[in-house]
């Protein structure tokens, strides 16, 4: 049972790291401000959430059985973190996007040179 959980947790952590990595590659490869936000805004959200979810599972099944109450409540805190990331990350992306648009950052069109 514990082995199975460890395998699932490893897969979740690896998937999270993969999405964070592709977000970072997107930040470097994409041509302008707006398209870069596509990479960071989406990949970071799912990457962070997958990593936190993996830690949560590990904590519930491997770390906390038999521990005191304050230790057993750590997964709840991780769950709160997941909720707040889902709420705050798209909002922050949208705020940065709006600020850039209102100050006149020009969007890249297909065929333009890289900025």
């Amino acid at each position: 049972m514990v082995e199975l959980i460890v395998v699932i947790v490893t897969i979740l952590l690896a998937a999270g790291v993969f999405f964070m990595l592709s977000g970072a590659i997107g930040l470097l490869r994409l041509p302008d401000f707006y398209t870069r936000l596509h990479a960071t805004g989406k990949c970071d959200t799912l990457g962070e959430v997958l990593i936190l979810f993996g830690l949560l599972l590990y904590h519930i099944f491997v770390y906390s059985p038999g521990a005191e109450l304050s230790v057993q409540l750590v997964p709840v805190k991780l769950l709160f973190l997941i909720c707040f990331i889902f709420l705050a990350n798209p909002t922050a992306t949208h705020a940065i996007m709006k600020a850039a648009y209102n100050t006149g950052v020009k969007p890249w069109k297909k065929g333009d040179p890289r900025m």
Partner: protein, 169 residues
């Protein structure tokens, strides 16, 4: 529902939510910590109940229930969005063709607008730039033509959000 009982209901809900939040975060159940939590959540509930519970009290439970069903669909869209971005980023030729589109929706309430704006940002290939709450008008940056068409032609997401908050038409 009269105005006063609505206010009391709002304070009660906020107080319960805040106190539960306190208990889960502290994890200490002695008199001092629980007492401090009670006082703090009461103060917070009195000051800011109108932030958590707003609007008219009709069909709140139905809306909440539909909202959770919608969240499940949204979660699936987020996973699709990540594979979409990953594909575009790692593809050697980078198949992107950014466009900025505008469209209007029948949505008016704050919560519905926030839900749609955040959903657009999290789903494949689109990010909200501007929202005009008086006309329900959205300005969206799309990374290619296909995700833009999903919003302007198919309108799946708008109609789903409108159904959840009962603001169609």
């Amino acid at each position: 529902m009269s105005d006063n009982s609505g206010k009391v209901f709002g304070i009660a809900v906020t107080f319960c939510a805040m106190f539960l939040f306190w208990l889960l975060l502290s994890g200490m159940l002695d008199a001092l910590h629980v007492g401090a939590g009670l006082i703090c959540s009461l103060i917070v509930a009195l000051i800011s109940h109108d932030l958590l519970v707003t609007g008219k009290g009709e069909k709140r439970l139905v809306k909440a229930f539909r909202f959770f069903i919608y969240l499940g669909w949204e979660l699936w869209q987020i996973i699709l969005a990540n594979f979409d971005v990953t594909y575009r980023v790692l593809h050697p030729k980078m198949p992107i063709d950014p466009v900025i589109i505008e469209f209007e929706t029948p949505l008016r309430s704050d919560f519905a607008l926030v839900t749609l704006a955040n959903s657009i940002t999290l789903t494949p290939g689109t990010i909200t730039i501007n929202v005009d709450p008086t006309k329900g008008k959205f300005q969206v940056h799309a990374i290619a033509q296909a995700p833009a068409d999903a919003l302007t032609v198919d309108k799946t997401m708008q109609s789903k959000v409108a159904k959840v908050f009962m603001e169609e038409g």
